[in-house]
Every structure is written in structure tokens, then in C-alpha cells.
């Protein structure tokens, strides 16, 4: 079913009300101070309040009866969500693995996974592109730029 922008506004307004409340409460826990000497909680508290007020306006406005803009589907194609999820998963896995497996090996796995699963390539292309990227990245970052990237238990 097609959704309109006011539906999206409602969801995001609730999110920002939550964010505003969190910062305001946190600001109160710190010291707000007085106008002549604002404390560390002054900015988070008042900015949080301003955000809540704005988000409430957005929320209330979303209930107005008018011609709202019809939004395109959240995911452009039926399988788009899989690509998005796989890309984020790959980045998360890279973050978790590369200090243990080492930069070169993790880079190879990362590139190969994305090439094979997001816009599936044949194995030959996947392996050539992943190997070339891993080797080149290693040469550029570790050998040329001397960046301190983890080498992992395999030592590369």
C-alpha cells in the first residue's frame, strides 16, 4: 500500500521527541546553571526542549487533512532490502573481524562477499576483483602510506 509523507513525518516526529526527551533529561541530570552562568547541561537541556517542540509541531501537522505527497516505495525494488542489509552486514562483519583476521584477508572476504551477494558476479570475476583490491589496498595503505592497519594472527 502506498504511503504518504505525513505517515513518514509521524514516525520521525516520534523518534525526535524521544531524542529530545533523552537529551533534556540528561541535561537536567548535569548542571543547567543559571542565565548568568550557564552550566554544562544548559545546551543539551534547552536544545532538547526545542527539538521536542518542533517534533510536536511536525506530529500535529501530520494529522492535517490536505493533499499529502505520495511517497515512493520505501525500497525501490522488491529485493532492494536484501542488498541494503547485506552491505551493512558486510561492514559490521568487517569491523568485527579485521583486527583478528588481519587487513588483507578481511578485505578479500569483504569485497568477495559484496561482489557475490549484492549484484552477483561470476566466481572468476569475483575472485580476480577481490584479490586485486586486497593486494592493491595492502600495497597502498600498509606499504606506501605506512598506515598501522592490523595484520591479524596470520601476520598479513
Amino acid at each position: 500500500m502506498e504511503k504518504k509523507i505525513n505517515y513518514y513525518n509521524r514516525i520521525s516526529a516520534l523518534f525526535f521527541i524521544g531524542v529530545g526527551m533523552f537529551f533534556s533529561f540528561y541535561g537536567r541530570m548535569l548542571e543547567i546553571g543559571v542565565w548568568s552562568e550557564p552550566g554544562p547541561g544548559f545546551m543539551p537541556f534547552w536544545s532538547g526542549i526545542v527539538l521536542i517542540v518542533m517534533a510536536v509541531f511536525l506530529l500535529l501537522g501530520s494529522f492535517k487533512r490536505k493533499e499529502w505527497q505520495v511517497m515512493p516505495p520505501f525500497f525501490r525494488l522488491a529485493d532492494s532490502w536484501k542488498r541494503v542489509l547485506r552491505a551493512f552486514f558486510a561492514m559490521g562483519a568487517y569491523l568485527l573481524l579485521f583486527e583478528h583476521l588481519g587487513f588483507t584477508l578481511t578485505t578479500f572476504i569483504f569485497i568477495a562477499f559484496l561482489l557475490k551477494t549484492v549484484f552477483p558476479q561470476n566466481w572468476k570475476r569475483t575472485l580476480i576483483a577481490a584479490s586485486a583490491t586486497a593486494i592493491l589496498a595492502r600495497l597502498i595503505f600498509i606499504n606506501f602510506l605506512e598506515t598501522q592497519l592490523p595484520l591479524g594472527f596470520l601476520g598479513f
Binding site: I5, Y8, N9, I11, S12, F16, V19, G20, F23, Y26, L30, E31, V34, W35, S36, E37, P38, P40, G41, M43, P44, S47, G48, V50, L51, M54, F57, L58, G61, F74, F75, R76, L77, S80, R83, V84, A87, F88, A90, M91, G92, Y94, L95, E99, T107, F110, I111, L114, L115, V118, F119, Q121, T133, A137, F141, L145, E146, T147, Q148, L149
Partner: protein, 505 residues
């Protein structure tokens, strides 16, 4: 005479092999990111920032600045040959540039884009040399209330120009301010929202935020459908424009250069606004406005000059006030701070070698770009042919390594991925990224200046309207905030928004 000695100083700084080499690397990388859709100059500068830690600050700034103006050059190539703008500032170039290419005049279109960019770049550098030093002297009169008012105005202008709902843009600005409060409070030393994580003590890292919001999120959005590119297969020949082309383009280039420079000084997506404004002006002044959009060379020359001149103008608020007016300049401000240099009114006097060296490098960079762009068009066309399915994992990898190598911190990488998720969702919900980034950068400075102002005035908020400069700036801010409530202004604002929609600022 003074100016000449400064130019000589700049030349002395620039003409050492390392600086020339890094200037070349900067413009080359800039052209590359300009050519590649899906990776903008903001993410590219953030990405290359860690690699500059081992070189002197002057050299690093020369390279990073080169990426910015280089990207404007590169953006036109994709507009003309593929009808896909590499940069939002080159959107308007598609209209006539691609039509010229379809008519077999891709060569002159690319040629005039390069020449007009060169001429405009040169004019804007001269403007920068003339305007920045006196403005810096004037800015010495600024105290905390003036700085606060100026930064508030900068943010509101950006919000005013945001595509879509102004309320949503304001919310993103305030959200950015809230995020900027994370870290140690510089006045009291209190840790705020750090949850014991060491990396948060210095605040939310600007580079992870920008890489996430602009780099990762942009790639993920493109992933959903993939970017289909159909590169024009006709041979690009006759790059040098004819005498008639020059006659038609000369005045549009001059007008575009001046317009772009002055718009560049203002906060916001100046290259885009100036390119669109230049196109509108040229169409209005033309004897045959109906031919615009069918492949007239003025439609390429004017906007290309304007968007390049705007990049020069954009450096003025940074060098004179220490305030970034868009996200690219915000990353540069971050770079300055990492190198231990505080941009602002004192910068030109304190670091004349850096200021004049950078300015002179822009001139050399423009010459390099002219030399690079014309003979290397064939290479850029080949780069465009690299399929996106191969390209996107490499861009993501560069984002991951770029952020990790900043401080060798996995927390910052996680932060970048988090910002990537947020940026992706925020785009879906039609929120603007630019106000968030600017607020994140300006937030700590705004907070400090506001609190100092209140301490100075013993708690009287009227200090912001009793000081003349600050009062003037506040008045403009107020007018901008309430003006959308007036119907005819709202209509004009909507038109302006349509022009700048989707710009990476």
C-alpha cells in the same frame, strides 16, 4: 606592493617539489571523485585526511583544497558525456552539455567547460586575495555575541535553502547541536554523554559522521537500484572551442565568475545555486532563450564558470572568520584543527605562509586541471565505464579504512556505520544532511560563544541585540526564519529549493 610581496611569499611556499606534487595529487583525486557519481568531495577529503598526517600542514591543505575545486571540474565531464552529473553543481550542465554531445559537439562542450572553469577559478582566486585580508581585519571586532549570531545566521541560511520542509531542516540542525554536546564540556570540564567511551571525550568525530552520512548512506541508496550508465560512444574530438564558441561564451564566463564568487561567500550549497543562477541569467539575457536546453554553449560556459568561482568564494568565511559555509569546508576546518591551526581573523597574520601558499596553489591547481582535463578526457571516460557493482565495494572499503586510520579506533568505524544507517533512513524520510553536519561542526563554537556572551552580560540575553553587528545578523536570521510564512516569499523559496535539491553541502 603589499599584495605583490604576499604573492611572492605564496609562490615561495608553493614552488617546492613536494607541494607541487601534492597539489597535483589533490586536483587529480578531485577530478576523479568529480567524475565518479556517488562519491563527493566531502567524503573524498575526509577519506584522504588521515594520509596527510605525515606531511606538513601547508602541503596537506594544498592537496585537500585541490580535491574541492578539482571535483567541480570533474563533475562537468559526466554531465556532458553521460547525462549524469558527477556533482550536484553540474546538474545544470547536463541540459545543454549533453545535448551538445548528442549533436557531436562533446569536444567543444568539454573544452569550454574546462576553459571557463579555469578562467572563473582564476578570477575567484584574485577575489579571494583581495577580499580575505580586509575582511579578516574587520572580523577582529567580533566578540562572542557577534560570533554566535554569525554562526546562527550561517545555519539558518543553510536551513532556509534546504530542499523540502524547513521545519524538518531545523530539526536536523537542532539534532546536530545536540550531538555536538557529546564529549567534554570545554568550560567546566564535565564529561557529557560519553558513557565511559574514551573516543567520545573529544566529541562525536566529524569525519566518521561525514563519511557515514555522505559516503556510506549515498552508496547504500545507490545500491538499491544500481547506477546504470550509458557512456557516449562517439569519439570526443576538437576539444578546442571555435572562435564563434569563444564569442558566445566570453560574457557568460565573466558574469558566471563574478556571480559565483559572491554567492560562494554565503553559507549553503553555493556551487549549485550559482550554477543555476548563472544559467537563469544567461537565458534571460540571451537573444534566443528558446534554444537553451537544446545544446547552446552559453548554457555550459556560464554555469561551469559560476560553480568553480563559488569554490574560491567559499574559502573566505573559513580563512577570515573560521566558519565553514558548507560541509566540504567543514571537513577542511576539521583538518586545520587536527593540524593545530585555528582558522579565523588571526590566521592570515599568524600563518601567512599557509594562507598565501594555499591561494597560490589554487592558481597552479587550476592550470594543472586545464592541462589534465583536456588530454585526459579519454581516461575519465574509461573510469566512467567501471561498473558500479565493482566500484561500490571499493568505495565502502575506502570509507572503512579512512575512518579507522584516523585514530586506529574501531569505535569510530562503528560510529560511521551508525551514521550511515541514520543517513540512509533520514534520506528515506526526506530529511536534509547538511544542517546536521554544519550544526555538528559549529555546535561547540556556538555553545561556547553563547555561554561566554551570557556570562559577559550577566545573564542578559539582550546582549545579542544591543551589539550593533550581532543585532544586524540576528535581524537577518529572524527575517529568514519568518519569511516562509509570507506566501510570495514561500513561493520564491520553493523555487530556490528546487534548484538546490539533493546537493551535498
Amino acid at each position: 606592493m603589499d599584495l605583490l610581496s604576499h604573492i611572492a611569499l605564496g609562490a615561495q611556499v608553493l614552488f617546492v617539489p613536494a607541494n607541487i606534487f601534492f597539489c597535483f595529487i589533490g586536483v587529480l583525486m578531485g577530478t576523479l571523485v568529480g567524475v565518479l557519481p556517488g562519491l563527493g568531495p566531502t567524503a573524498a577529503i575526509a577519506l584522504l585526511l588521515p594520509s596527510t598526517f605525515y606531511i606538513p600542514p601547508v602541503t596537506a591543505i594544498i592537496m585537500l583544497a585541490g580535491i574541492y575545486y578539482g571535483a567541480m571540474y570533474g563533475g562537468s565531464t559526466t554531465s556532458i558525456l553521460v547525462n549524469i552529473p558527477g556533482e550536484a553543481a553540474s546538474v545544470i550542465t547536463c541540459l545543454d552539455g549533453y545535448q551538445m554531445a548528442l549533436k557531436g559537439r562533446a569536444g567543444p562542450a568539454l573544452g569550454i567547460a574546462a576553459f571557463s572553469s579555469f578562467i572563473a577559478g582564476t578570477i575567484s582566486i584574485i577575489g579571494l586575495m583581495l577580499v580575505a585580508p580586509p575582511l579578516a581585519k574587520f572580523a577582529l571586532a567580533f566578540g562572542p555575541p557577534e560570533y554566535f549570531a554569525l554562526m546562527l545566521l550561517g545555519m539558518v541560511v543553510l536551513i532556509y535553502l534546504a530542499a523540502g520542509s524547513m521545519l524538518k531542516a531545523l530539526m536536523m540542525g537542532v539534532f546536530g547541536l545536540l550531538l555536538s554536546t557529546i564529549g567534554m564540556d570545554t568550560i567546566s570540564g564535565t564529561q557529557r554523554l560519553t558513557f565511559g567511551i574514551l573516543e567520545f571525550s573529544d566529541g562525536v568525530g566529524l569525519i566518521p559522521a561525514i563519511m557515514g552520512l555522505f559516503g556510506v548512506a549515498e552508496v547504500i541508496v545507490n545500491l538499491e537500484a544500481g547506477i546504470a550508465r550509458n557512456v557516449l560512444t562517439t569519439r570526443v574530438k576538437d576539444l578546442l572551442p571555435s572562435i564563434q564558441d569563444w564569442k558566445d561564451s566570453f560574457l557568460p564566463i565573466l558574469r558566471g565568475s563574478v556571480l559565483g564568487f559572491f554567492i560562494g561567500i554565503l553559507p549553503g550549497p553555493a556551487p549549485v545555486i550559482s550554477a543555476f543562477s548563472s544559467y537563469a541569467i544567461e537565458k534571460k539575457l540571451s537573444k534566443y532563450p528558446e534554444r537553451f536546453g537544446t545544446g547552446v554553449i552559453e548554457g555550459v560556459a556560464g554555469p561551469e564558470a559560476a560553480n568553480n568561482a563559488a569554490t574560491g568564494g567559499a574559502f573566505i568565511p573559513l580563512f577570515t572568520l573560521g566558519i565553514p559555509c558548507n560541509s566540504v569546508i567543514a571537513v577542511l576546518l576539521g583538518a586545520f584543527m587536527i593540524y593545530g591551526i585555528q582558522p579565523g581573523p588571526m590566521m592570515i597574520a599568524k600563518y601567512p605562509d599557509l594562507f598565501w601558499g594555499t591561494i597560490m596553489s589554487m592558481y597552479l591547481g587550476n592550470v594543472m586541471l586545464l592541462v589534465l582535463n583536456l588530454p585526459l578526457i579519454g581516461l575519465w571516460v574509461q573510469v566512467l565505464k567501471v561498473p558500479y557493482p565493482i566500484l561500490f565495494p571499493i568505495i565502502l572499503l575506502f570509507c572503512l579504512i579512512g575512518v579507522y586510520s584516523l585514530n586506529y579506533s574501531t569505535v569510530e568505524v562503528a560510529l560511521m556505520i551508525g551514521f550511515g544507517v541514520f543517513g540512509y533512513l533520514a534520506r528515506k524520510f526526506q530529511y536534509e544532511m547538511a544542517p546536521l553536519v554544519l550544526a555538528l561542526v559549529l555546535g561547540p563554537m556556538m555553545e561556547n560563544n553563547m555561554r561566554l556572551s551570557l556570562v559577559i552580560s550577566q545573564g542578559d540575553p539582550m546582549i545579542f541585540v544591543t551589539h550593533p553587528i550581532s543585532a544586524g545578523l540576528m535581524a537577518v536570521t529572524f527575517v529568514l526564519l519568518v519569511s516562509p510564512l509570507i506566501p510570495w516569499i514561500a513561493k520564491r523559496r520553493k523555487k530556490l529549493q528546487e534548484k538546490v535539491g539533493g546537493e551535498e553541502v
